[in-house]
Amino acid sequence: MFDTTFIDQVNTLSEQTIQDCYHCHKCTAGCPVASEMDYGPDRVLRMVQLGEKERLLSSHDIWLCASCETCGARCPNEIDIARVIDALRQFALDTRLRPVPVVIAEPDAVKFNRLFLFVVQNMGRMHEATLLASYKLWTRNLLADMDSGAIMIMKGKVPLLPHVIKARKDVKRIFETTRMENR
């Protein structure tokens, strides 16, 4: 239940020293989404310290983080908590690192990120039309933002034809290399 090696694993992946946290709570006080979270950034670090792996990786917190870096900028111990959150995201999705099945609390966030990267991997750049259409289909939420979406299309802000870069193979190779290295 408590994995005492977890803090070392998270420290290594995030390149932070989480044991330095003495829970002053400045991070949570400044976090714009703390009120939406289960625990808040400070308690996330506490759970890493205690090795509460399953509960933490199944929380909403790790997906709600907006990466605003307010926490890291204010931390008196210079812990970049947003980077810790990113590391926890990688842990939550990496089946080899998890001990037991973890419930992903925000599957839409994962879907969005996967689709975004899928588009970039294949085109070298973002193509909003492909991303948004596939995101809406995958999350079965076709109607949301239909009005502003239609308006943006009419204003010519959502190119229907993608721009595929010439060096798309180089970008694909970057994806493949970093996927293998990402341990």
């Binding site: 989404v33 939406e36 709600l64 999705l93 970039v120 180089d170 970093t178």
Partner: protein, 283 residues
């Protein structure tokens, strides 16, 4: 002095008016922007959320191109700037990471080229005095707040751009254009842009708070320097209340300079600022 230019994906689509205003303003000033050859997406939030090495390698490829071109790179998008500056910082300070990125991308990092945010170039390199001297139509009566957002100023050791708690460059720029920069305490508070599509209600809460605070500060508009903030601030302002127009700072520069083709920008916005500008006889 010329610069290399990295527009980023959103300037080619949802922030096309930002791109156009940047190009026109730089043309008017007489500084050339050379778009990086065959640049790729920086990876934005999705890359660093899923795979840190990927989030460094994607910008590293662009830095390799920039290095080849031999000029400092201007980045109008705060997120792209942040990701590239992070990769640049990593390569300058972490030799093992640098070796890995050099191998993955296929280049040798020399560190001869700098990554610069657009606001920095205009306010510091070109200079506010130069900008002021080019104003033909001062933006008198325009009361706005400068909204810097998160990624331009944090993490401060990476962005190295202004005081993260009290940046002033955009406010000084607004002064130079003849507008009134209203003081407020929320200039670097997160707008929730990263959650705009996946958790829109959370983003809407953050946006409405910012819009309310801007109104409270006596502003009629918010001025941004990030395309994701701008779209988020427009899209997620609640229905029913009078909506606050959201400018890109380069649009206001173009307007104040009296450039010809500014009118095409206003219609591109989801919240058309033309009404506000007309009421101030700026249009």
């Amino acid at each position: 002095m010329d610069y290399s230019y990295y527009p980023g994906c959103s300037l080619e689509s949802t922030a096309c008016e930002y791109n156009d205003s940047v190009q026109q303003v730089f043309a008017a000033i007489g500084v050339e922007l050379h778009e990086l050859e065959d640049w790729n997406c920086c990876g934005a939030s999705s890359a660093h959320s899923m795979n840190r090495l990927l989030s460094l390698a994607l910008p590293a490829r662009n830095l390799a191109i920039a290095q080849q071109a031999g000029r400092d790179v201007v980045m109008p998008c705060a997120a792209c700037f942040n990701r590239h500056k992070t990769a640049d910082h990593e390569m300058r300070t972490n030799p093992i990471r640098r070796a890995y990125l050099e191998e993955t991308v296929g280049f040798k990092f020399t560190g001869t080229v700098s990554v610069r945010p657009l606001l920095d170039i205009i306010a510091n390199d070109i200079g506010l005095e130069r900008v002021r001297s080019m104003v033909r139509r001062p933006l008198t009566g325009l009361k706005a707040v400068g909204y810097y957002g998160c990624l331009l100023v944090r993490p401060p050791e990476i962005t190295q751009f202004e005081n993260p708690d009290n940046p002033v460059l955009m406010d000084r720029l607004l002064d130079a254009l003849g507008a009134e920069a209203r003081p407020w305490s929320y200039a670097t508070d997160c707008c929730g842009g990263g959650l705009s599509l996946t958790r829109s209600k959370v983003a809407a809460k953050l946006v409405s708070r910012l819009a309310d605070r801007a109104r409270e500060a006596g502003a009629d508009a918010i001025v941004t320097s990030c395309p994701l903030c701008q779209v988020n601030l427009e899209m997620r302002q609640g229905k029913g209340s009078p909506k606050m127009p959201i400018f890109y700072f380069t649009e206001l520069i173009g307007l104040a300079f009296g450039l010809d083709k500014t009118s095409s920008w206003w219609g591109k916005h989801l919240i058309n600022p033309a009404g506000l500008l007309k009421s101030l006889t700026l249009l």
